[in-house]
């Protein structure tokens, strides 16, 4: 068992190395670019929406950044993760290795990206004059949930992509929809109580809300809020794991 784990650990680290090298093509600029892209996005959003919403929201830049941070990690991880099975079909149809490792290793490079963006986020928070409190430590919780959630969605998508090759387009449309529904650049204060609850059905909104509550409002979300955050992550992960288990030996017919 331990031997098995050790073997997989070596394979996993080699896969991470491969994905990382391929993604950034051994250039510093490659890495910088993947952080710059969400920042550019942020800048454009700020330019466009600041006039519209900026006056009603405290620390609008941070508000915007928190939403953008969560959303871009989500899209990055899921879009890259989606092709992790199909892209490695040459390997798993020839060598018997755990297939989920491909997705996990893809997620590591997305996670590193997220981590770097998170550092810039905290720099912005400091620049905006928001004091750092012990409550910031609680952010580990939504980050953890988000990692599990992204892996779960990635598992589901990568499995689906094996069966349906137009998933990329469909997912593109769906992420657009999720972006609009995640209240990244607007607030939902003007909606009715029911509508506000409906927003909580969106995990991305939920996770960015957690960030905003801690960082901007300095309040700790309710226990129910915590439970919901964990539930989304576990449900997504559970469905993904089940799909991998069920179709483990079926994938090969489709690639």
């Amino acid at each position: 068992m331990i031997q098995k784990l050790k073997q997989n650990q070596f394979l996993f680290s080699e896969l991470v190395k491969r994905d990382f090298t391929k993604k950034y093509k051994r250039t510093i600029l490659g890495m910088a670019w993947s952080i710059l892209a969400p920042l550019m996005n942020l800048l454009i959003m700020w330019l466009v929406f600041n006039k519209l919403f900026g006056n009603n929201v405290d620390h609008y830049v941070i508000y915007l950044f928190a939403g953008q941070l969560v959303f871009s990690y989500f899209t990055d991880a899921t879009n890259l993760g989606m092709s992790s099975l199909v892209g490695n079909s040459g390997i798993f149809t020839k060598i018997n290795i755990p297939k989920y490792l491909f997705l996990f290793s893809q997620n590591v490079s997305s996670l590193i990206n997220f981590g770097l963006t998170l550092l810039i986020f905290f720099t912005f928070v400091a620049l905006d004059g928001i004091p750092f409190t012990w409550k910031f430590l609680l952010l580990v919780y939504p980050v953890g949930c988000l990692i599990v959630f992204n892996i779960g969605v990635g598992l589901v998508l990568s499995a689906l992509y094996v069966f349906f090759r137009d998933m990329q387009y469909l997912w593109g449309i769906l992420t657009q929809l999720i972006m609009w529904l995640s209240a990244i650049f607007y607030t939902i204060d003007n909606y009715g109580q029911t509508a506000q609850y409906l927003f909580l059905l969106n995990p991305i909104y939920l996770y960015s809300r957690y960030f905003r509550k801690i960082v901007i409002e300095s309040t700790i979300p309710t226990p129910q809020f915590h439970l919901l955050a964990a539930a989304y992550a576990l449900i997504a992960f559970g469905i993904g794991a089940l799909m991998y288990k069920k179709y483990n030996h079926e994938f090969l017919y489709y690639v």
Binding site: L11, F92, K94, I95, M167
Partner: protein, 431 residues
Amino acid sequence: MKTMIRAEHVSIGYKIGDFKDIGLKEWTMRHLKRNYHVESFMAVNDVSFELKEGDMLGIIGANGAGKSTLLKAVIGVMEPREGHIERNGNVSALLELASGFDGDLTVKENAYLRGAMLGYTKEFMDATYGDIIAFAELEDFQDRPFKQLSTGMQSRLAFSIASLVQPEILILDEVLSVGDGAFQEKSAAKMRQIISGGAATVLVSHSLEQIRELCSKVLWLDRGRQIAFGSDVQGICDLYADFLEGKLRTEDVPAAYQRLLAERSEMLHGLTEQPQDESEGRLRTAVCAWDEQHGGSQRARIGSVAILDQRGRACDYLQTDAAYTIEISYALSAKLTEPYCGIAVFRDDGVHCYGTNTAIDHVAWEPGERGTVRFQMERCPLQQGRYVLDVAISEADGRDCDYFRSALEFEVVNPRNTVGLVAFSHKWVFG
């Protein structure tokens, strides 16, 4: 000897149809129009074989026979729908040479990645990497991107990694013909070294010469069905060659194979008529009943077979003209009618040298529930060469209870310089 791979009645399903490379949109449309066809078929159908340490199995068969599918099940990429496959040891597989290598990574990075995929630890790869590169003759290319290598270099690297990691089970799919002549020789030598180190190897090849030269067992598949499996490599390859030349039709192969086996057993107990059975299902139950070396009704089972020298020591090197005893132990599971025990000796090129049994020799044999039979010969008349010994216990009408093929392989050395197949006992008289 330890069994490395055991496949029992393995059937592997495969799916083909409209599902490949389609989108959700097309999938939905096809379902609505009821135009969605998926065909599931058995790519491998009821195949059984067993490999022990040091065995090298050659799989032969036309394209689409299910060879690659079977290999995929052996390495665990596919799951048999029926039956099961047991593996004892780590598997190193080379299915398609360059698959799994990444063109953007360097040779070194690819070597480590492949090593990791084959299940080795970092420490092991650190220790072995130098040898791998040296064997592949790629010392000067270690930091080049993989895509800059020529196809031959890529294959050499793939072969080196798969073979230098000391696999216990090595799977090779059409890969021995890589590289130039010199490398081919080197890789064949490496193969022999791996096999003599106790690994079990499975080789798929279209080259019959390669199979004849390297393999100790052969499995012939045709459209998923097992036509033949056994250690009579030359015999089965001969049949297959006939089949390829069109002298033999697929449907006649089982009968021909049975004739081949019957010929051998005929030589053993002087039988002219072997009951022929049309169905191939019967063939396998009749001939390969419990493993590839034993066939028959199982009413008797032969245990150990040994050749003893005058001091009673088991030996597999014999000397021409020396005295030996073949000792056969057996166990019966039923009362046999008119039982007899026989032996047959073949030279390794298939020449039938001698065969006899207790019935031919008019020796009455009343076997107990278990016991031993000793075949004593005052002098071994065989000349220099390698030989195979078959042993059988049969009963009335030539029904085999246990025909033990290749029970023993032995070599004869001749201290004198006489030539030919047999050494006559003789003296010269001058008048």
